[in-house]
């Protein structure tokens, strides 16, 4: 259910964003994310940005394990 791809935003333009995942680029819909800026990371699914990514995998899991 829902392959997601983490990608860096290169530019934002008229509700769309050009994203880059290790050199693979594509223009996707950015309509559902506010305040997107170049340099942001987003989670991409089926051609739309579904969420901003605010942290790295590692930092996230570290924090969770600490709290546990």
């Amino acid at each position: 259910m829902c392959v997601g791809l983490s990608a860096r935003v290169i530019d934002v333009n008229d509700g769309t964003a050009l994203i880059d995942a290790s050199g693979a680029k594509r223009r996707i819909s950015a309509e559902l994310i506010d305040d997107l800026e170049p340099g942001d990371y987003v989670m991409v699914h089926a051609g739309i940005a579904i969420a901003k990514i605010t942290d790295s995998d590692q930092d996230e899991t570290n924090k969770i394990m600490e709290k546990l």
Partner: protein, 351 residues
């Protein structure tokens, strides 16, 4: 491996608590867990159940039949995610229809299907809208765009679904859920908090090795208390309120309905359909499709597999009559399907 992850690994391998049934709802979780070999870490007492979270697996046979009717009888160009191509309908799959001359176009995004329709006004284009909360907003954006672009040749065959009522239906099948991170990225975590009140436990998590191991460790730890729990283990992507803009566009374009889940039967209010202002984009209405009841194989135990009532290799035809090359049931079709994952990753040997 970083420290926190090896710590999680330790928690898992050294688990000595009571038997636990954990259902990974999301097919991508199922797939990643197999791909990473995580199942082999688990002690006997922990059982992973692959739930109904693969939209391909739960899409009923009749839906494929509808798509094939549109392609072969109405000469529509079918735009679809690659996932649906090999799913068996009553008589054939979309791949089979393509052999008979149907035009089947794979797309990466519903928006690409809208674009294609715009560029080919001489063709009638139907997008096969399947998927859960994660995928539905993209389909809704495509319909809105088609309306804005004034397209007359574009429609959707809608079979989108929502999860909350499915959790309730599966309540007794698992002791804890691994919630599907990207569904929650849209839907938020309020739903999960609500479920705690109904005695349903689970954690939201992502898809990396670290996230999966951590989430399993969290479940093991929190289960110890014996009380229902919820924890968001994917906060870098999942916000408590989810993605409000996405929720809004879904609400604007679609409305809930009852719907059939392959293997599970009808779950009330778990389906979506286009709202009245978008009816001209509804392929069923546009082509006046008859009511189609598909015929799925009587041998297939997908329904039980999806509920953890049996394992794939308990099915008599698993690996013999039913393989990814020649699937009998839906769970064998999608890469993410439980039976397919068992088969591909050698579930019989080390699953």
């Amino acid at each position: 491996m970083e420290n926190s992850v090896s710590e999680a690994k330790d928690i898992i391998t050294s688990y000595h608590g009571p038997n636990l049934r954990i259902m990974e709802v999301c097919g991508t979780h199922t797939h990643e867990i197999f791909r990473l070999g995580i199942r082999k870490l688990l002690p006997e007492s922990i059982r992973l159940i692959s739930g109904p979270g693969c939209p391909v697996c739960v899409t009923p046979v009749g839906y494929i039949d509808e798509a094939i009717l549109l392609a072969l009888k109405h000469h529509a160009v079918i735009c679809t995610f690659g996932d649906l191509i090999r799913v068996p309908g009553s008589e054939m799959s979309l791949a089979g229809a393509r052999q008979q001359g149907a035009e089947i176009k794979m797309v990466y995004s519903p928006l690409d299907s809208e674009e294609y329709a715009k560029e080919h006004p001489e063709k009638n284009v139907v997008f096969l809208a399947v998927g859960f909360e994660t995928t539905t907003p993209a389909a809704c954006l495509a319909v809105k765009k088609a309306r804005k672009d004034g397209l007359q040749n574009y429609s959707l065959l809608v079979a989108n679904k929502t999860m909350p009522n499915a959790y309730l239906a599966l309540k007794d099948s698992a002791d804890a859920f691994l919630y599907p991170g990207h569904v929650n990225a849209i839907a938020g975590t309020a739903v999960c908090e609500e479920l705690v009140k109904k005695g349903i436990s689970g954690v939201v998590t992502g898809f990396t090795a670290g996230e999966l191991l951590t989430a399993l460790a969290v479940i093991l730890k929190l289960s110890a208390s014996g009380k229902p729990f919820f924890r968001n283990c994917y906060p870098r992507v999942v916000r408590p309120d989810g993605n409000p803009a996405a929720q809004a566009v879904m609400r604007e374009v679609m409305e809930p309905c009852d719907t059939e889940w392959r293997g599970l039967g009808i779950i009330r209010g778990s389906g979506l359909r286009l709202r009245e202002p978008y009816h001209s984009f509804d392929a069923r209405l546009r082509y006046a499709l008859p009511k189609i009841t598909g015929h799925s194989s009587l041998l297939c135990r997908c329904g039980e597999v999806l509920q953890g009532k049996c394992r794939p290799n308990d099915c008599k035809v698993f690996g013999t009559g039913c393989t990814p090359q020649h699937p009998i049931g839906a769970c064998m079709v999608s890469n993410e399907g439980a039976c397919s994952a068992y088969y591909q990753y050698g579930g019989t040997e080390n699953g």
